[in-house]
Symmetry: C3
Subunit: 258 residues, 3 copies
């Protein structure tokens, strides 16, 4: 299995899938292709949350590769990552295994992708570098990445710091990680902190709201703090957009006080 | 084959797929992950429209599970559904087979998902309950669900009522079920009611429009009623958003008069 | 492998996949389902860019079929296309092979799809015609399409003209092909024209901007022209939407002057 994560939206991921399919019959599963471009922390958070639910797989992560970033293959137990050396691969790698080994791409090429690219060519790494390398690692077998000629052991960049919530006696401090199609603000605050608080009145960044199990449990126009389907606290409102009701957007600080 | 339907948007469905892939090699096909959260009727409409096109499959439906809803497995002929007991599974089940049997989840668990959950844990049912159970039903075989220990025969909640259009001599009454990326309002009124009416002038909620086979058939700024690619009547406008042109949104009543 | 491209958004492509799965075990890969409805040129551009990265496959293209368009199967080398005779299949077909053969659908039917449809029925061609025919072509084998009874050799409509950029000494003229979720305007101007121009000041439709490798390389509020992950020039701004900053939308002309 090869999973695909990117920040390139539609239709570009199709090219990555086509390239992989030229080299491998691996099952392809999309993680997401709308990861935010300028927040490696948010992407690292989601990958760390989501990838542990997968069986052993190669995870292609074409997120914020940036022109100055080297390419990495990271092995973590029976999982491997292929992506940029921007610190985003390591938080999920550490979640999947106690230890990891990082490799830098040296030289490879077989006609449908190569590294380093020809000077002057338009190389797009998700498609031209990460996709063929992910297929190659999959076909070789994750536990044998150390035998791939094109890979040289290296020391990866420092992992990005995943935005961790802090829990104090009277306040929980977190961050808005994403806004869904309904305008609900998804935070990084664990949802189980709300357990046994159904009906409790709280303040979010000073704005009054109520802890409820769903927005439908209150009157229209009332603000709700709920444990959402992502496993974390969400800010919403019955009959409107939570982002407007709480004046937050992706990246906003969230301070929840009992 | 296992199909996946949810209201959780991106990236959460990836976790459900990962969990399924731990237990099953079944092909995974997304139906949709943007079903509206507060309209079980709309979801039931779409599932009833779409699932009959599938070969025998297990259909995971993680839509509006709500904290108080029990979990169901429903067998309908060679198809099975795994989802919440909120009435949304039965309209498509009845469309797929003359009869169905409903089962309630008793106790199960194997380390990647369990029911009932540990007290105090953050259990998210799409990922932790429905996904492993869908994989289990698939591996066991749909026709043998009655042999699964964790399932007990039950009587399901009443099916939600799918919003059905009514056709009278001079008026057709329906509802806006969805708004697409182009602002086109997709209704539940069958598109073939427009057959042989190309060019006819109609009123939609009192607003004048013309029946045409596409918005491109009229001048810019003209409102059009058309039979869309979903098989139903759509409200659109050449060069704009149909929702604005007709002042409708998801859930709006639509009265079309000849 | 069968790829799927459409302009029908969500959830309609699920029905096409269900129909295909009734007839074939082929791997299904989505190219995109948000191709613009009224721009066959843009769709042809993307298909021509993306499909050459795929191994031999059947490409279902349910884009702007329009009520008056015939149905085509086009063979190009080891690839085949199934879609409407609206000129959109031929630019990618020509990219995939030196020559192509076009076939028109005569009569076929097997209960889950048929052509021509019963009079008065709601036939939706992506689901009812293209999907079963794509599965049939896949099962028959692309190189044997000439043996399919339901297909008759034909001459296809003229290919749509893909919007090609023109490069002059002091100006490059192109077009906005798409706007991504971040408001970045993706053009058809090749990204490698910016190579070795990092830091150069340019004018886009008269508006000053700077060529940089990413929007993060400039101060907030500064306009940037960059080579994006799609392989083409993109118009963006640090901390905002490129479409607003450059006053462009899908289909806008773009004149870039050094």
């Amino acid at each position: 299995m090869i999973t695909l994560s990117s920040d390139s939206g539609s239709p570009y991921p199709a090219a990555m899938k086509g390239v992989i399919a030229q080299h491998s019959e691996a099952r392809l599963v999309d993680v997401a292709h709308q990861f935010p471009r300028q927040s490696a922390q948010t992407t690292a958070f989601w990958l760390r949350e989501l990838l542990p639910y997968f069986p052993p797989a190669v995870h292609l992560v074409a997120v914020a590769p940036g022109p100055d970033r080297a390419e990495l293959v990271v092995r973590a137990g029976e999982h491997a990552f292929v992506g940029p050396d921007n610190g985003v691969l390591l938080p999920p790698a550490r979640e999947l295994a106690d230890d990891y080994e990082a490799y830098r791409l040296a030289e490879f090429g077989d006609g449908t992708g190569s590294w380093p690219p020809d000077p002057g060519s338009s190389t797009f790494r998700g498609r031209d570098v990460f996709a063929p390398m992910a297929a190659h690692v999959h076909e070789q077998g994750v536990t044998k990445v150390d035998a791939i000629d094109a890979l040289e052991p290296t020391t990866a960049e420092e992992p990005v710091s995943v935005p961790e919530p802090t829990v104090e006696d009277d306040a929980i401090r977190g961050e808005v990680l994403a806004v869904d199609d309904f305008g609900t603000a998804v935070t990084n605050i664990p949802g189980d902190l709300l357990t046994d608080h159904d009906g409790t009145h709280v303040r979010v960044n000073g704005t009054a709201a109520q802890v409820r199990r769903s927005a439908a449990a209150v009157e229209a126009g009332k603000r709700v703090v709920t444990a959402g389907s992502h496993g974390t606290v969400e800010l919403t409102i019955n009959g409107g957009r939570g982002t407007n009701a709480f004046s937050v957007h992706t990246g906003s600080d969230v301070v929840l006080r009992w």
